[in-house]
Structures are given as C-alpha cells and as structure tokens.
C-alpha cells in the first residue's frame, strides 16, 4: 500500500486551529506525511506544538522552508544558514540565475516555479540536466490548477506539459503537492493524480509523485540531518567506545 505525502500544505502557522483543521483534513484524505513551510525565525517550541497537532491525527510533520531569493548569492547565503535547520528546502526560482544555481546545488531539494508568470518558468533542458545530477526534484503545486480558469489555466497546463516531458527525459523526479492555503482546496491523492493527467503525467507517474518521490526526498534528508551522517553512503554505525578492542 502506498504512503502518500503532501509536501506543501500552507496553513496560517499563527492560527493553530487552522493548522489542525488542514492537517486533520489531509489525514482524512489519506496522506500520512505533510510538509508545512515555516518561517526561518520559528522557535523550537512552535515546531513542537505543530508536531503534537500532527501526531494527534496520526500524521507525520515534515519541516520545510520556502526560499525565494532574488540573486544566486542570496540563495547561497540562505542555504548555508538554513540547510541543517529544516528537513526540506524548496526554492521558488524567480530568475534564471537563481534557477540554475538552485538546480546544481545538492542542498536544494525542490525546484518550484511561479504559477502566475509563465515567463518565469525556467525548467528547460539545461535546468533539468543540472537538477538530475544534483538529485533535485521538480515540485508542482496543484492549487493553481484549481483556482485558475480560462486562458491562465490553459497557459499553466501548457507550461506544465513541457516541463513534465523534460523532467521525464532527464529522469528528474516530479513531486506533486497541494500548495493549499485552505482546507477547501485540499483533494485526495488519487484526485490529484487524475488532475495531473491534464498535463500528460500518466496515473502511475503521478501517484509516484505523490508517494515514492516525496518520501525518498524526506527520507534522504532525515538521514543527512542525523548526527551519524558523515557523507553520502557513509554513516556512523557505532561509537568508538562501543567497538571491541578499544
């Protein structure tokens, strides 16, 4: 049985009732993990409160930060500051230089593009090649497909179709998230998968984008954030004091 993950739930963090409502709805719709973007100045106590709310509805909280830097220098500074503080780092690429830097940096987990501005969607072949080498994933928020209508929706569907085709060619994982700010905009994983067929993502690939792909990103980062992590493929299994003959 698949474990579904929604990596982009956007409740109002200051309103814990709203957080609980959205997390409860997500749990009811079949998600087992949710990612909530947090402000960089968030306190540990607040994160603990959010974790408690999630645990009460048997859902796993994934902490995440959404960066939207103006320059690649700002992106690098932010990555240095926040990489070890949050489990997921998503970068909204508003310029080509930021998009390229984010795609080639292994500390970036998710590449996101502005849904309202098709001219700011920089996910082309060069971007996909860099993202593929750096194990980055393309994140698609489905809320934009729900609230846009008419010509803007046609444009976003057209852009997404091209991006998904490029991602498939370069084996860049696609992560499908809700991006919902309100419980009324949340949908079940199979419903999102059906919506994803609108931009030519097949049902099996869409379901993978809602389960295996986000799960592997979270799993990889949790392992990296673990104190026993040394380098890719290298972990501290046992301390020196526990080894025989020392």
């Amino acid at each position: 049985m698949r474990t579904f993950v929604d990596l982009h739930l956007r409740p109002s963090i200051n309103d814990l009732g709203h957080v609980e409502e959205m997390v409860r709805r997500s749990s009811g719709l079949g998600y087992r993990s949710v990612g909530i973007p947090l402000p960089y100045s968030i306190r540990e106590e607040k994160i603990r409160q959010l974790r408690t709310i999630c645990e009460n509805v048997r859902i796993n909280l994934v902490t995440r930060i959404d960066l939207a830097p103006k320059t690649s220098g700002e992106l690098l500074r932010n990555l240095r500051r926040f990489r070890r503080k949050f489990e997921i780092i998503s970068v909204t690429c508003n310029s080509k230089s930021v998009a390229r830097q984010a795609a080639k940096d292994r500390r970036v987990d998710l590449l996101a593009f502005s849904p309202g501005f098709p001219c700011r969607r920089f996910f082309d072949k060069a971007e996909a090649e860099l993202a593929s080498k750096a194990e980055g994933a393309l994140e698609i928020d489905m809320t934009s497909l729900l609230f846009l209508t008419g010509f803007p929706r046609i444009r976003i569907l057209s852009s997404l179709r091209k991006e998904v085709a490029v991602a498939r060619n370069f084996k860049v994982p696609v992560v499908i998230s809700s991006g919902a700010t309100d419980a009324g905009l949340l949908r079940g994983p199979y419903d999102y998968a059906a919506l994803a067929t609108l931009f030519d993502l097949s049902m099996p690939l869409a379901l993978r984008g809602l389960s295996e792909n986000p799960f592997s990103v979270v799993d990889r980062n949790r392992r990296k954030l673990n104190s026993g992590y040394v380098a890719p493929g290298l972990f501290v299994v046992r301390d020196v004091k526990h080894c025989l003959g020392v």
């Binding site: 719709l29 497909l145 729900l146 009324g184 905009l185 949340l186 949908r187 079940g188 419903d191």
Partner: protein, 100 residues
Amino acid sequence: MALKVENEEPLSEKDLVGAIWNSILQLFGEYGASQTNLYLVEFTPKNGYAILRCSHKAVDVIRASVVAITRVNEKPVAIHVMRVSGTLRALRQKLVVESK
C-alpha cells in the same frame, strides 16, 4: 463513482450536474464531454453524497473534472471522489462497509 460534496450552503441536484458538465466542458471540450456518458444516479443534499454513472473509459476525465470544481453559484465547494466501482451494486456495498 461515489462523491462527497462539501459545501457551506445546500446545493440542488441541478446545480451539481450543471457544475460537473461545465467543468468537463472547460477542461475537455464538447468532444471529451460526448465520450463520458455521464448520468447522476442519486444525490442526497442532506449529507452531500452523490453517485455518478459514466463510461469506464472516462473515469479519469470525470475525476479530473469533478475535482477541479471549486465554486458553484459563487459559493465555495469541494468535491471528493470517495470510491470508484464497476457496478452500482458493488459501489453501494463498499460505501456501506466503509460507513460501518
């Protein structure tokens, strides 16, 4: 296909069918809509449960269209697909089992 309609104000059967057809027409056009063989079997406005019958080849089309509905008569609405089954009888049995 069993649906659960979540809405703040009561919705009539006509509103629901109209919203679904509008959504299909917007996303797939008249050609796509003609292949769905869509029919609303039942709708209980009280609890928001509805059952749709459609061509099995058009399940994804209907699902995407139903899910894309966010407003009916300018009021916010969310429609979730609860179950899909090959026959109405099996669908009703599954719903009964789930409600227990």
